[in-house]
């Protein structure tokens, strides 16, 4: 695959490009999202479900 000697190296090569794309797309889609603005709507602790642990 892609001239590589084994599947795992080819997978790494593809994942490198894929994860970069993920960063770019996520950054563009959430350009103006700000957690601070969401805080007054949801009480600060509501997003934490760790207390049940």
């Amino acid at each position: 695959m892609l001239g590589f000697g084994d599947f795992w190296v080819a997978l790494a090569y593809i994942l490198c490009l894929g994860s970069t794309l993920l960063c770019v797309v996520y950054g563009i889609l959430h350009w103006n999202d700000d957690e601070e603005m969401a805080e007054p709507v949801h009480p600060p602790d509501e997003d934490l479900d760790f207390e049940e642990v």
């Binding site: 001239g3 190296v9 994860s19 960063c23 950054g27």
Partner: protein
């Protein structure tokens, strides 16, 4: 060598760097400016600063050289660097770190841990660990820069090392983080340009994308001793569970890949931006930047084998035999490749981008050493929060001490050490800080005794494994030989090649959780101060 061209390029670079450092110095008015750049940094600047602090000569020269040895399996580290080191780090860790850091008015990574659990001991312990062990990583970065100067300019290694270190120390010393963030952005840009040219030039030299196939076919040239240890060519992973596989996967890929999440000099960058929005935006340049740095370094590193084979009839390792020891010095593979394969002008440009890479990382490291020493150990842990005015002078004293220790290490560490020393430090950070850091951000049930016992267990387990079991270090350090008369207690078994991280991180995590669950939870009102809406920047 074209001395005039070189002098002009270097002089321009030193002047601009000096100017930016001075600009930072002039704008550094408060301790928050010195420690956190005033919490107002632009996302592009922040991500370039994060990226250029993360990536250094260690990543490019040291790990690039390791890729020439292990092959493209190192690309797994690039994937971890981008997915964990950027995506997860910015989104999960970055947001929380920024918000809790601001709510608790934390100025440093140890202070974040200390205030979250209401303990000056935690802050002092974390600060001391960082200040004492960071020079190992800083030395690896310095060696990377000095090796390049040695090959490219034919300079004496020791002299190059010293001059270079003095310049870095000077501007970190005066500029604080504001100066560091400005120069980092310039350096990040330079690194990007240098690596981009290197990528295009290398692929065009060795035959484009078809070169992957050619490199695969070179597998028959793997030296027999390496093949016996599991090497299966430069485009395949080493044989599963072979000694080389353990070294590649446990030390290099996991050590650095996971360790990045708990790097004090990187975590502090999250506290320099104004809001979570900036972190989303910073993902874009951050992801592209890391791909362009480690992705290119590791691909080119592996492809140097093809280049050297096509032009010299030898693989990369055979090009860098050290006449004194008779062993290859993998730290010299990338410098040798650039000086032989690239035109002279590119050698200078690339040298500059490497200097930039080293300077930005070293400045972040020395900044972390200084603040650990001045703020965490002295002002908070020892002086009990008094003598705020002494933070910056004592941080500067700490930078000086860390600088001296780094130079001593850089002169004394053996050849081919860059990737190993870096991975060791990253692994240590993961073992000692990661469970505490994750708990601080996400787990309200974590308690102070849990955090302290987890951190101490992590450090002890990591330290004992380095001294007595992991043969690469235990043999070099000699403590095991002195006490037990052998290089490693596990000599001859698989355990001798298993990285300290693999043992120390799970132990530290288990102890953190178990002790936390067995002790009384932190009071709700204390937790609310960390997680619940205390306005940004207000004191704890």
């Amino acid at each position: 060598m074209n001395y005039e061209l070189l002098t002009i390029i270097l002089a321009a670079y030193v002047l601009v760097t000096g100017y930016l450092g001075w600009l930072g110095y002039r704008k550094t008015r408060s301790a928050a400016d010195y420690l956190l750049a005033g919490r107002q940094v632009h996302p592009l600047l922040m991500s370039l600063a994060y990226g250029s602090t993360f990536i250094s000569t260690s990543a490019i020269v040291g790990f690039g050289g390791a890729a020439a040895l292990f092959g493209m399996g190192l690309l797994w580290l690039t994937f971890f660097n981008i997915f964990l080191g950027i995506f997860i780090a910015f989104l999960l860790f970055g947001r929380r770190t920024r918000r809790i850091g601001a709510a608790l008015d934390a100025h440093t990574f140890p202070e974040l841990l200390g205030r979250r659990f209401g303990s000056r001991f935690v802050q002092g312990f974390a600060g001391t660990t960082i200040a004492c062990l960071m020079p190992l990583y800083a030395a690896a970065v310095m060696i990377g820069g000095a090796r390049f100067l040695e090959v490219q300019l034919g300079l004496e290694y020791q002299l190059a090392l010293f001059v270079f270190a003095v310049v870095v120390a000077a501007y970190v010393f005066f500029g604080g983080l504001k100066g560091v963030v400005y120069t980092d952005a310039l350096q990040g840009t330079l690194m990007f340009v240098g690596m981009f040219i290197l990528l295009v030039a290398t692929y065009s030299k060795v035959g484009g994308l078809g070169s992957h196939q050619a490199l695969t076919e070179l597998a028959s040239r793997v030296p027999p001793p390496l093949a016996e240890q599991g090497h299966r060519g430069w485009t395949a992973m080493p044989a599963l569970f072979s000694p080389l596989w353990w070294q590649l996967v446990s030390t290099i890929i996991l050590g650095v890949g996971i360790g990045v999440l708990a790097q004090p000099q990187l975590a502090v960058r999250f506290m320099t931006v104004k809001s979570g929005k900036e972190l989303n935006r910073a993902l874009i340049p951050g992801g592209i930047f890391i791909l362009m740095m480690t992705g290119v370094a590791f691909t080119v590193g592996a492809l140097t084998n093809l280049f050297f084979y096509q032009t010299q009839g030898k693989i990369a390792l055979a090009m860098v035999m050290d006449p004194a020891t008779g062993k290859p010095n993998i730290d010299k593979i990338i410098p040798t490749y650039v000086s032989m394969a690239m035109p002279e002008w590119f050698g200078y440009v690339f040298m500059l981008s490497l200097l930039a890479a080293a300077m930005s990382t070293l400045s972040g490291q020395f900044h972390a050493i200084g603040t650990s020493f001045g703020r965490d150990l002295y002002q908070q842990a020892l002086a009990g929060g008094r003598h705020q005015e002494r933070t910056v002078p004592i941080a500067r004293l700490g930078i000086f001490a860390g600088f001296v220790l780094t130079i001593v290490l850089a002169y004394n560490l053996p050849a081919g050490i860059i990737a190993i020393a870096t991975a060791l430090f990253f692994g240590m950070c993961a073992a000692v800080f990661l469970p505490a850091y994750v708990s601080a951000l996400f787990w309200k049930r974590a308690t102070l005794p849990g955090i302290i016992s987890g951190m101490v267990t992590g450090l002890l387990a990591w330290g004992l494994w380095v001294l007595f079991v992991h043969e690469k270090e235990s043999a070099a350090l000699g403590v095991c030989m002195a006490v037990f008369g052998k290089t490693s207690l596990a000599a001859g078994t698989k355990w001798a090649v298993v990285d300290p991280l693999i043992v120390a991180l799970p132990l530290s995590a288990i102890v953190t959780v178990a002790v936390s669950l067995a002790t009384r939870p932190i009071a709700e009102n204390v937790l609310n101060r960390c997680f619940g809406g205390s306005p940004a920047g207000s004191p704890a």
